[in-house]
């Protein structure tokens, strides 16, 4: 990539053993530069002890999300020119998750909540049964498709103020996944799932502020999915079925 002659003023969060601070770096600005390019330049050219996480670099794996100038972003697909404020960048670990070191966060709480939300497929048939006939026009299939392209990046989890206020809240991603499974006619775990999303950390805590929908890099709308869960649980309580 050609250099532009300009430099970015980059503040990067450094943390080890619970002791953290921002550290400044000057990074050459280049055309078509992503935030992950900036972090990689710092790690390769300025300080090899910088810890961060990435894998695919093409927006598939959901590993590289960080806070950039205060907002959660998938850094491999976020261009500097889109988010830099007068050539300044502040890069920090994802909000609402414990820091392991520098920009790498512990994703365990995030994935533990997927399990707690029963956001796991429970098969109703075996491999010996015939294929379930589900057409693309099926309304449940369409609702599931709207929620299904999640890459588990935790951007929505970091954007959610309810997660920040209530550490028990299951969060947008786990509830979005639960909703896609509520719409899977092959699934046999609906009662347990609706019960799992109805507790003190469940879907009813969502204030519908839509931070998740605003920042989801795949343009999903977890708030809409959570609204679906609210309807489904209410109908279930009133005995109206799904």
């Amino acid at each position: 990539m050609p250099e532009t002659g300009e430099f970015l003023e980059v503040s990067i969060w450094r943390e080890q053993d619970g002791d953290g601070h921002f550290e400044s770096f000057q990074v050459p600005r280049r055309d078509n530069q992503t935030i992950l390019d900036v972090v990689s330049w710092v790690q390769q050219q300025a300080d090899p002890t910088l810890s961060y996480r990435f894998a695919c670099r093409v927006g598939m794996c959901g590993s590289c999300a960080m806070m950039v100038n205060g907002a959660p972003r998938w850094t491999c697909r976020t261009h500097v020119q889109k988010v830099a404020d007068d050539n300044r960048l502040e890069i920090a670990p994802l909000r609402n998750l414990p820091v392991i070191k520098d920009l790498a966060v512990d994703m365990d709480p995030f994935f533990d909540k997927w399990v707690a939300a029963e956001a796991v497929f429970e098969p109703s048939q075996t491999r010996d049964d015939p294929m379930a006939p589900i057409t693309p026009q099926d309304p449940m299939r369409i609702a599931a498709s709207d929620a299904i392209e999640c890459i588990n990046c935790a951007v929505c989890y970091a954007a959610c103020d309810v997660v920040a206020a209530n550490p028990d809240y299951l969060g947008p991603a786990a509830l979005n996944r639960a909703w896609s499974l509520v719409n899977d006619s092959r699934d046999d775990g609906q009662d347990a799932r609706l019960k799992a999303v109805s507790g003190g950390g469940g879907c009813h805590n969502c204030h519908a502020q839509q931070g998740c929908a605003r920042y989801c890099p795949n343009e999903l709308n977890p708030t809409l999915s959570i609204s679906g869960l609210k309807r489904a649980t209410a109908k279930s309580l009133l005995g109206w079925g799904q």
Partner: protein, 114 residues
């Protein structure tokens, strides 16, 4: 900190409050067209079971609805949890019920026939 039952209680009380609020505003706008004194209002409400039920059910719904809303705010903003959260939430509910109930009683049956 809302579970399904608190969520449903808040939504159902909102369903009760919405038509009562519209009714309150409509009657208020209609009644003050030609000017209305306190005595004229009380003449209509004193001894009226209908107005007692109208505003009584509103106070009942508000007490539950507001207490659940306050519970979420107290948990998320002030970090109050556990038994303290439940006690304060019930306290808010009872306070609104007593204050609202006294007001409704005052304009309907207290001093009725006096």
């Amino acid at each position: 900190m809302l579970n399904l039952h608190l969520y449903m209680a808040q939504r159902l009380t909102a369903l009760i409050m919405a038509p009562l609020t519209v009714g309150h505003l409509a009657v208020m706008i209609y009644a003050v067209q030609g000017g209305l004194s306190v005595a004229e209002i009380l003449a209509r409400t004193q001894g009226s079971l209908a107005w007692f039920l109208f505003y009584g059910s509103f106070v009942f719904a508000v007490s539950i609805h507001a207490a659940i809303g306050m519970r979420a705010i107290m948990f998320e903003w002030l970090g109050i949890k556990g038994t303290a959260l439940s006690l304060i939430s019930w306290g808010v509910c009872l306070l609104l019920l007593v204050l609202g109930g006294r007001a409704v009683w005052a304009v309907t049956f207290a001093g009725a026939g006096a």
